[in-house]
């Protein structure tokens, strides 16, 4: 059910169009502050990195297809393995789910016209892009990190890794962290302040709860990583002694700081996927989510308890038992919020009348894979078993079921689900379903046998293995599976690319969707909503009388806000309309800022301290210029 634009609204719409229009062409993309265009930038950039990470994965699997294989040198394998992890986590999943999906959908779902800090939003993107190029610049220059994505000291210290690859890793992740932190803060403020009047906390879509949880997790998790990386670089570049045992340093300190960040990070990776699932399921089963408050709670809770489980990555380092027990207890109970969501999804599907179209297929696949990944995850809270199986392929199997199965599958489902909204065209259904089945098969072929070789004692991260270990057969299957998986993903890509141009045109709401984004045109106009929507439940799009009220308001010129880049600001909890904000519009400074910061990091890695200082000053000057033009002068 779409809003038919009443004739008398014509002039108002034109005004909005004129006010929100951005510059055409490349300059438009460089200076844009439109959350939807920024999301598109995030989408294509993170897909490019996804391709890179995928190639690294295929290299790894091809090297391991037979014992004593010589395709990659030991160092080549270590580089591929490290960059695969870094790329997929920091340069693909997070920018894809938060940057692309979050940016495009959160403002739409809450009925806002943009993010709370549009220019900061653009800056997050440009800084993310720059950090990715920085890390891969190191790779291109022949300095790829080789110490694995969790980069344990002392292996990563100057003594054992003299090459500057580790510096590219550490500085690149600090760089990347700036972007993620800015994005996270932006999401929280957007969700708190820019919800459509009437959307009190209890009427907020679960998708937004997921992004709220993720953002808070990032805000509190990233500093621990930054702290660890600063210490590492101080050791490597300035000769500090944080991790040098002989000088009173400690190597477990790194592991603690890294995993204080690293475990919440896991939930940062999968929570947006949960959000996507909770958006797709109601639409395709034509029913509201079961146990809404519990699911909302579970999403927040996972992120919170996630801060109390980090040491289960360290059960083999010889912590004292009383210490480990704190983490074991939390690691067990954190299963329950996931259980709540899982059974809420399943019950919703059972009680509804599901249409098993491509998006729902991906979500059902996700549910199956997430159950496997979740169950294998529980076994790590059994300390003795964890101590037996940690650092084996059993772990690799587990977290790929979680990260690929539980995070990437919903992302792919989401791509299909919102494709008509973003492009105004429909993808090819039969190809969509086929690509799901191929990917699902490939996923299980690749990762299921890893459980078994893990139990058969194959440690992870070894560049080769002897023939007489009884591992060969499983590795062959895994490597073949990897190529099947790649084929499935290619099918997805081809389907979506072709449909961009050839797909049948669709209206605003091809799915009879549940949330607000389906009420505006596909693709949505720069200002998202001609009239600020009325909201009385978390499934706003299914409240017909509210949508009809919107049409009347539009006709009467009520709640249209066409005097400038305007959007309503509300009270954080109950969403009572408080004021009308004048939003900043397109600005050239965000990309310039990213350039200046890149200069700082580049100079630091070259140890050109003065030059680095100059770039730093430049960055502050840019920030000054950035604030030279205040919104209300627009």
């Amino acid at each position: 059910m779409a809003i038919a634009v009443p004739r008398e609204a014509g002039p108002r719409i034109e005004r909005l169009e004129r006010i929100w229009r951005e510059r055409p062409g490349v300059m438009g993309w460089l200076t844009t502050t439109d959350h939807k265009r920024i999301a598109i930038l995030y989408l294509f950039t993170s897909l490019a990195f996804f391709a890179a990470g995928g190639v690294e994965a295929l290299l790894i699997r091809t090297q391991l297809i037979r014992p004593d294989n010589g395709l990659l040198t030991p160092s080549g394998f270590d580089q591929a393995m490290t960059m695969h992890g870094v790329t997929m986590i920091f340069l693909f999943v997070i920018p894809m789910s938060i940057g692309a999906f979050g940016n495009y959908l959160v403002p739409l779902m809450i009925g806002a016209r943009d993010m709370a800090f549009p220019r900061l939003n653009a800056a997050s993107y440009w800084i993310f892009l720059a950090s990715g190029l920085f890390i891969y610049g190191g790779v291109a220059a022949g300095h790829a990190p080789t110490a694995g994505w969790f980069d344990y000291v002392p292996l990563a210290s100057k003594q054992f890794s003299p090459d500057s690859g580790i510096d590219f890793y550490a500085l690149g992740l600090i760089f990347n962290g700036i972007s993620s932190t800015a994005a996270a803060i932006n999401f929280i403020v957007t969700i708190f302040k820019l919800r459509a009047p009437g959307m009190s906390l209890n009427r907020m879509p679960l998708f937004c709860y997921a992004f709220l949880a993720v953002s808070f997790a990032l805000v509190f998790a990233l500093p621990a990583l930054t702290c660890a990386l600063l210490m590492l670089e101080a050791d490597r570049l300035l000769g500090f002694q944080f991790f040098e045992v002989a000088r009173g340093g400690d190597t477990i300190l790194w592991q603690n700081l890294f995993w204080i960040f690293g475990h919440p990070e896991v939930y940062v990776i999968i929570l947006p996927a949960f959000g996507i699932a909770t958006s797709i399921i109601p639409t395709f089963v034509r029913r509201r989510m079961v146990a809404f408050p519990l699911v909302a709670l579970a999403e927040i809770l996972v992120a919170f308890i996630g801060f109390g489980v980090w040491a289960h990555h360290m059960f083999a380092v010889g912590l004292s038992q009383v210490t480990t027990i704190y983490f074991a207890a939390a690691s067990l109970i954190i299963v329950i919020p996931s259980g709540i969501q899982l059974f809420a999804w399943i019950t919703t599907i059972v009680t509804g009348t599901p249409r098993f179209k491509t998006p729902l297929l991906w979500i059902v696949g996700f549910i199956v894979l997430f159950i496997i990944g979740g169950l294998s995850g529980i076994t790590f809270a059994a300390i003795p078993f964890d101590q037996q199986l940690t650092d084996t392929y059993y772990v690799v199997a587990h977290f790929h079921y979680v990260i690929f199965g539980a995070a990437v599958f919903p992302i792919l489902g989401g791509l299909f689900y919102w494709f008509p909204k973003v492009t105004g065209r429909m993808y090819h259904e039969r190809w969509g379903q086929a690509s799901f089945w191929v990917t699902f098969a490939g996923m299980n072929l690749t990762f299921f046998p890893m459980h078994i070789v893990g139990l058969l004692g194959m440690p992870r991260r070894q560049y080769t293995y002897p023939p007489d270990m009884g591992w060969t057969g499983y590795n062959v299957i895994e490597s073949i599976g990897a190529y099947v998986l790649a084929a499935g993903l290619l099918m997805v890509a081809v389907n979506l690319v072709v449909s961009c141009f050839r797909g049948a045109r669709v209206g605003n709401d091809p799915w009879e969707g549940d949330t607000l984004e389906w009420s505006t045109s596909s693709p949505p106009p720069a200002y998202n909503y001609a009239v600020i929507p009325r909201v009385t439940s978390p499934y706003a799009m299914w409240d017909r009388e509210d949508r009809e009220a919107d049409v009347e308001n539009l006709a009467a010129g009520e709640k249209v806000l066409e005097q400038g880049h305007e959007t309503p600001a509300v009270t954080a909890v109950d969403a009572e309309w408080d004021e009308i904000l004048e939003m900043p519009s397109s600005s050239p400074w965000p990309p310039v800022l990213a350039l200046a910061i890149s200069g700082v990091f580049a100079m630091v890695i070259l140890k050109q301290w003065i030059a680095a200082g100059v770039f730093l000053v430049a960055a502050f000057v840019v920030l000054g210029a950035w604030h030279g033009k205040e919104p209300q002068e627009a």
Partner: protein, 206 residues
């Protein structure tokens, strides 16, 4: 909806103050700064936790050959920084009342005090560097890292002050009023963390 104000109208001191008074909830900028503070605070928490983590790996702290830090000067300096929160607070009060010149003056005073604080601290920092090095022991590493990172936060605050003084010299808008409020918050944060950092730094002598 009639009681809803348009922030874009607040282009002058009087209106800005009125908009500010009619606002029922914290503005976006406030939330943004609150969250930035949250993440920065977590950074300091990590550093301070690391300090004590390292301390509990060592049997003697500070290690042999390094005498425990002297209390007086750092304590006095930190007192100065905490005191500088008073003019900052005053500046916010004045601005919310629409009294731009008074706000500007108080902020300038705050800037001078904070600048003096940073100068003195840096002098002390260099003095410490001459007595023991961050490259010799983990104690030195965490000691200088903790102080250094806090000094950086003070320096950033000074830059914010300078920008604010620059724009407030011409007009007080809604945008600048919120900026003043959040930069004040930033200073309260820097001052309170300064106390925690001080206690950590002086821990061996307490």
């Amino acid at each position: 909806m009639s009681d809803v104000t348009r922030s874009m109208e607040a282009g002058a001191a009087g209106v800005a103050a009125r908009v500010e008074r009619r606002r029922r909830s914290m503005p976006s900028g406030w939330w943004g700064m609150a969250l930035l503070i949250a993440t920065e605070f977590t950074l300091f928490a990590s550093l301070i936790a690391s300090y004590f983590y390292l301390r509990f790996q060592a049997s003697t702290w500070p290690p042999a050959g390094i005498e425990p830090p002297s209390i007086t000067l750092p304590a006095v300096f930190t007192g100065i920084l905490v005191a500088s929160c008073a003019p900052v607070y005053g500046a916010v009060r004045m601005a919310r009342a629409g009294r731009r010149p008074a706000a500007w003056g108080l902020l300038a005073v705050a800037l001078l005090v904070q600048g003096a604080y940073l100068g003195l601290q840096l002098w002390l920092f260099v003095d410490d560097l001459n007595t023991f090095s961050p490259a010799d022991t983990a104690y030195g590493s965490i000691y200088f890292a903790l102080l250094g990172i806090h000094h950086v936060h003070v320096a950033v605050g000074l830059l914010l002050d300078l920008w604010l003084l620059g724009v407030l010299a011409f007009a007080l808008t809604n945008y600048r009023l919120i900026a003043l409020r959040v930069i004040a918050m930033y200073w309260y944060f820097v001052a309170s963390v300064a106390v925690l950092v001080l206690l950590t730094q002086l821990y061996p002598s307490l």
